[in-house]
Amino acid sequence: MGFPDRIERTVEIAHPPARVWAALTTAEGLGSWFGNAATIDLRPGGAAQLTWTDGQKASMRIERVEEPTVFGYTWGIYGLPDDDPRHTYVEFTLVPTGTGTRLTVVETGFAQLPDDEYRTAFGANTDGWAHELGELVEYLDANAA
């Protein structure tokens, strides 16, 4: 039960949505508060990349662009290989308030299943390994004598 799939935060920001939107969706904005530098092709299907001075990188695929209320992207799960199919989806929602913006960020997909290849590996493992190992050990014991 402990596997967290969804992370959600809401913050009240004392700046209007247009400003927050710019910080979230421009290379200048993203490269200031999120990474140390950024590139972004702001359209659904477009690519964005964050880089940090320590050499880390994050590649994103833009999924939703509804200025100035919804910005969504997918990116890889930290620590998994770059070509791993598992990705999380991050969505920022901006709601104007009397004093600024209510910003909500939701990231989902941490608990997604591995793809079929991995699933097959897991399944095969639970069925067969104890049995196969037993046979192997018997074989080796028989041959060691």
Partner: protein, 127 residues
């Protein structure tokens, strides 16, 4: 979601394996040096061969190492990364620090506002 308990179970097996210092040492040795036999591991680690064999059997049953035929018919054990990557998903969720990022966003916006009428942060830094 009948499949959900599967990744839970996989993550749990990884963390259970990692909770024991001998098993951590065995997994670390396989990660660092590649596939090895129980005998190889016994020469490299301060763990008896019997204990290593016992731990390897447990790790193999959990799918964290795979047994494969090696030279002279000795069984070699290879680290399996798929379960580790499931555990990594779990760790990534715990390590995702949106609180810090959102603080940085607010700070960025406050700095921009304070900088006005300077056009950008860079313009200010240059001056």
């Amino acid at each position: 979601m009948p499949t959900r308990p599967d990744i839970e179970a996989v993550a749990e097996e990884v963390f259970t394996a990692l909770a024991d210092s001998s098993r951590r040492a065995i997994l670390a040795a396989l990660a660092a040096g590649g596939p090895a036999t129980a005998t190889d591991l016994a020469t490299r680690l301060p763990i008896t061969r019997q204990a290593i064999a016992k731990h390897l059997a447990l790790l193999a049953e959990a799918g964290l190492v795979a047994a494969e035929p090696g030279e002279r018919r000795r069984v070699r054990y290879r680290l399996r990364s798929a379960p580790m990557q499931v555990a990594q998903q779990f760790l990534a969720a715990l390590a995702r620090d949106w609180d810090r990022q959102l603080d940085a966003l607010q700070e960025h916006l406050n700095t921009l506002a304070a900088d006005r009428p300077a056009r950008t942060k860079k313009a200010k830094e240059r001056s």
